[in-house]
Symmetry: C2
Subunit: 193 residues, 2 copies
């Protein structure tokens, strides 16, 4: 059981206590997906029907800005959850798309199964409370960094914080995540090297 989806199982057990039956029950609600590089799990305009857990690989959330340019707002690597939570919560059309950055193994928790899961295994209410609380904490910090640091310092900071991850993604995704153009990122790289 525990080696079926090791990242997810570990993540669960990091935050809540579950016996083997409960774990088995939880996993029975999760829908495993193999998604290949560049394929989409959600398209803008659709309803976000699932909350996605990245077991392996990397997802990103993006939208098309007023000028028609892709803007990446989040990445989800191993053991992160990702969804357009406005769309997911209200089952309304999504403003974002979700795409696999690389080949990924994902666990999808569908909206209409979530309430059954929460009823079947009440600890999951606590699990998600903790997951979301941490997500809010992270977004508060991110907000601080984006206000405090210049574009150049943002880049330096990101590279120092996630040196291995920078290798995994194309520059244009990182540029839009950090809030600037690929041209400017290219200029920064030259300047720094």
């Amino acid at each position: 059981m525990s080696n079926l989806f090791p990242e997810f199982t570990n993540h669960l057990r990091r935050f809540i206590k579950l016996d083997d039956d409960e774990l088995k029950a939880v996993l029975s609600f999760m829908r495993p997906l193999s998604v290949k590089k560049k394929s989409f799990l959600l398209n803008e305009g659709q309803i976000c029907r699932s909350n996605f857990f990245t077991e392996k690989g990397c997802l990103r959330m993006l939208f098309i800005d007023a000028k028609g340019v892709e803007q990446t707002t989040q990445f989800a690597i191993e053991h992160w959850w990702l969804a357009d939570y406005m769309s997911f919560t209200n089952q309304s059309p999504a403003q974002f798309s979700i795409q696999a950055v690389e080949h990924s193994e994902v666990l999808a928790l569908d909206y209409d199964l979530q309430e059954k899961l929460l009823a079947a295994v009440p600890q999951m209410e606590q699990y998600f409370r903790i997951v979301f609380q941490k997500a809010v904490a992270a977004s508060q910090l991110r907000m601080m960094y984006t206000n405090d640091l210049s574009r150049e310092d943002m880049y330096r900071f990101f590279v120092r914080s996630f040196p291995e991850f920078v290798q995994r993604i194309p520059q244009y995704m990182l540029a839009s995540y950090l809030g600037f153009t690929p041209e400017y990122l290219s200029e920064l790289r030259r300047k720094i090297a």
Copy 2:
């Protein structure tokens, strides 16, 4: 009971079912505070010991940037929760301060009481899960707006979205919340009027 803290009571009942005894139990964990304009509920460097619910008035979260300038990252008006969630979750020193923008009535839920509350009234686990899920949804949207809109459009958008709220706060707070200088905000106002 229900008219003691009407905003909080309504908010609870909007998301979970509680009978009168449970409501009473919940309220017994909340510490009411009357805070006057400009006083601080949390100072950078301290540990954030409480999660704050705004019953009446307005709080803001802020930090001092590298140049020594105050930057506002969030407001919490009636029926919003606010805390430095990194500090609160880990009981580690806060990066942010929290200040009353105007005279406010606040309910504080202390860190060490929260677990007792969650044990006493398990529905509260669900309540906070929903509250945090909505907070994540809001921050995803905010991220989209800040990437998509120019500073000028940000300002227009904010004023159109919260016309009454703009009246309640000084310009310099709004400027830093929107990510620009008071001087530039002043210029924008003149230009638009």
